[in-house]
Symmetry: C3
Subunit: 355 residues, 3 copies
């Protein structure tokens, strides 16, 4: 990579504060950056690092205007701008050429679109449909009647069982399982009888799903993942869950059966949500939170049981005053004892505790 | 599907409250049901929906007798009855015909029962045994000397390492790993030396195991999963764990090494249990609970550290009174100040704090 | 197995307390041991079992000197000594002979060392490097340009994507995914745009990684796992995480992006660590802890938010006094009421609350 700051600014629609002719030869994080590197600040926490960074240029949001050694490039969304530049300088992405590898096994009546790539040892069962330009990675299993949209990237060893529908431009990372049976049993005298899980899973467009995720098929009807939803690694999504568009689900989250999640929700890592409840649009659920009841839209909840973040913080602050409170009560007890003694003095009484 | 309510009632041994000739054309959840649908109520939470459901018939437990629009079919176990009907109306389950796919690799001295189906790219190592009518899915790996019982369904990409024993009618969902080494190291001067894990895993009959579960082999002897145990997705079961019959383990639970779980236990999602303890029969462990010591039989524990549910609730109620308590103590302080002032007045003293 | 106690003591450099000619015919845990068995005590919790064990000999640390029925063999590290003996008596470990299975698919310019074993249905992409005596299990996927060191054991169905570097003597259990894209998006007007993850993963020597683990590739630069690190099952390690040498990460832990973990750290099961923080050397993080800020070296933290273990315990003890505190405050209120009444009596006042 060898570009001038002004060329970069032009590519991302940014405004240069400083010398536009400085030469950039690499990209890096703000802490690790060295001379010649372009970096960026996406979260305010890293703002103080502007002073110490060795980077030659930094993509920043428009309100940042410090006079620092590095040249600043002001843009609306520094993360996105940096991503554009990274795509230029990163190693050539691995491409899988169109074509069906001779070891792949394709069932009967499978419809395969244009320029599809099917890698070694993939198994595509009867009546499946694979959209144009989709890549089916090595060892992927696609069940009977399952439909995969266009321009999808299904990484090695993903398992998608029968009768699932997946939209366009969906990315699924390795080891993820879609359409396993929901966890449903009817218990009669201590023995658990399997309830058939005859529903399916429907996944919208532009969804990305991490590695080793599990998304169960519905008992009936469908488990639904909306358009633009992003799911991190090792997430559990139970049967009949509904997730609205553009919601983000961070690693190791678990969502229990039949729960409905709104749009633009953020669920932070290791949070758990019980079944049969509703989470409103734009809700933020804190890391490790345990959500036990419906959450209205536009709220931020934390803790277990999860409640309003500010209420939770206020409450935690109260609880932290416990040692001080114990001390205060001890002092009050002493004072009251003295008061009682003086009053007994006035009345000429004896201390009843001495009897 | 096209059946009369009375025909359905007969199939499930139920009693009709309402018109027995109403025609049912589908099945659905109580919220989503439309005219012509059969639905059911398994948990009391959904009882109020009886009034608003558009379903034409509802499977209910015998004590429910509301006068509603829908016809009721009273049965002992509505879930199980509904499951029976669902099995009738659901899409034809995918069947894997008996036979060994030509791409499957079968080692030496492998014993394969009658009507076994071995799917593409399965690998079955030397001296393994596969029982009658069992299905080995695409890409499944069965290690040396491992024995799988009859009528099992091993979904694609399951890995079962060497010397494992699995009972009859066991279902294992995709991506699950059975018999990985237990996590055991002896640390000498900061370096962790691997302790060989020479034990095995034994899984009983009628067990169901979800997707991407991990069940480690024992250090010596065996990790044991009893008959009828049901395990959800992404569960971790460490070496030498023992799980009694008919216990239920919900998604993302972790059970540490050498812990013994009783029969008919329910462990809710994301709970964690430390190693080397004993959980009695019929125990219920709440979601996200952290169990740090032995739990006696027939108890219900919640929280972290986990304790009796009612004690925990009472205690949480006490803690929630913290803001009120702080307020009370503040008032007491003021009152005592006034009392002290009045007594000083009586004695004609000065306030020592003014000095 | 048939060895005298004195022969075992010699093998592990131990000192015999009791009859050195007792014959040992098996190995077992201290609870399950029967006559003829050798067992050991690694944790003090099990010391009382010395009296009741039916084992014929017990490996113990030098300070244990009880007079019990069993013969004692004192050694510096009983776990490690026991491991040595177990390796002798356990079943012959499964060996995978060197050679490339005819079904394996090897790309262009792949470098394969001496005595490498490549099992059925493995896929090794162009320009990958596999070190001497490494075993690549059935169905393993090795991406383009990825380098695996010598003497590694990569179990079936592991996926290692492109441009990853793995050291020598590394063990990776089944189903683990290394080098999936980091979870990074730039959100513009509610739509999440993928940030390319152009970095890699570098794993040191002597690392062991459990089953179904996920280790994401870096946004840029690398995600780093130091020498001698041991990672249990179902752990999530996000992009750009750095883990120092000999750190232990127990099952179901999640470490968020760009966090730096020191050397010799122990992170217990189900703990979670937020992104962009630093955990010092020799830190211990308790099970289920939620770490939200930097942790200085040599500390032991627990709880959520995680804080010093002793401080946390003291604080929890204070909080447990809540019911008692509520009771005390109630009594103080009563006493003050009486004091106020008596003072009103002295002054001849009426109770203002009676008005």
């Amino acid at each position: 990579m060898r570009m001038k700051v002004k060329e970069i600014a032009e590519m991302v629609g940014g405004k240069v504060i400083g010398d536009p002719d400085v030469v950039i030869t690499g990209v890096s994080g703000i802490k690790e950056a060295k001379e010649g590197d372009l970096t960026f600040i996406a979260i305010n926490k890293y703002k103080p690092l502007l002073k110490s960074t060795k980077a030659s240029a930094v993509l920043v949001s428009p309100e940042i205007n410090n006079t620092v050694n590095a040249v600043l490039i002001q843009v609306e969304n520094p993360s996105l701008a940096f991503a554009k530049i990274m795509a230029l300088v990163g190693p050539e992405p691995i491409k899988f050429s169109p074509g069906i590898h001779p070891t792949a096994i394709i069932g009967k009546n499978v419809e395969i679109g244009k320029d599809v790539s099917i890698q070694p040892f993939a198994v595509i069962e009867d009546n499946a449909v694979i959209g144009d330009e989709t890549v089916i990675g090595a060892g992927v299993y696609i069940g009977h009647y399952t439909k995969i949209g266009r321009n999808c990237l299904i990484y090695p060893h993903v398992v998608i069982r029968e009768r699932i529908t997946i939209g366009d431009r969906v990315i699924i990372h390795p080891g993820t399982v879609i359409g396993g049976d929901g966890f449903g049993f009817a218990t009669v005298r201590g023995v658990h009888h399997k309830i058939p899980q005859i529903g399916t899973v429907e996944i919208g467009n532009d969804v990305e799903i991490g590695s080793n995720v599990t998304i169960d098929r519905a008992r009936f009807d469908k488990t639904y993942i909306g358009n633009g939803v992003k799911i991190d690694n090792l997430v559990q999504i139970a049967h009949n869950v509904y997730i609205g568009d553009n919601t983000i689900v961070v690693a190791q989250v678990g969502i229990s059966g039949s729960t409905k999640i709104g749009k633009n929700v953020i669920i932070a890592g290791q949070a758990g949500i019980i079944g049969h409840i509703t989470i409103g649009d734009n809700v933020i659920i804190g890391g490790k939170a345990g959500v036990t009841k419906n959450i209205p839209p536009n709220t931020h909840v934390t803790g277990f049981p999860a409640r309003d973040k500010w209420e939770d913080m206020r409450f935690q602050a109260y609880v932290r005053r416990q040692p001080e409170l114990i001390e205060k009560v001890k002092k009050l007890e002493e004072k009251i004892e003295k008061l009682e003694a003086r009053l007994r003095e006035i009345y000429g009484e004896e201390n009843p505790e001495n009897n």
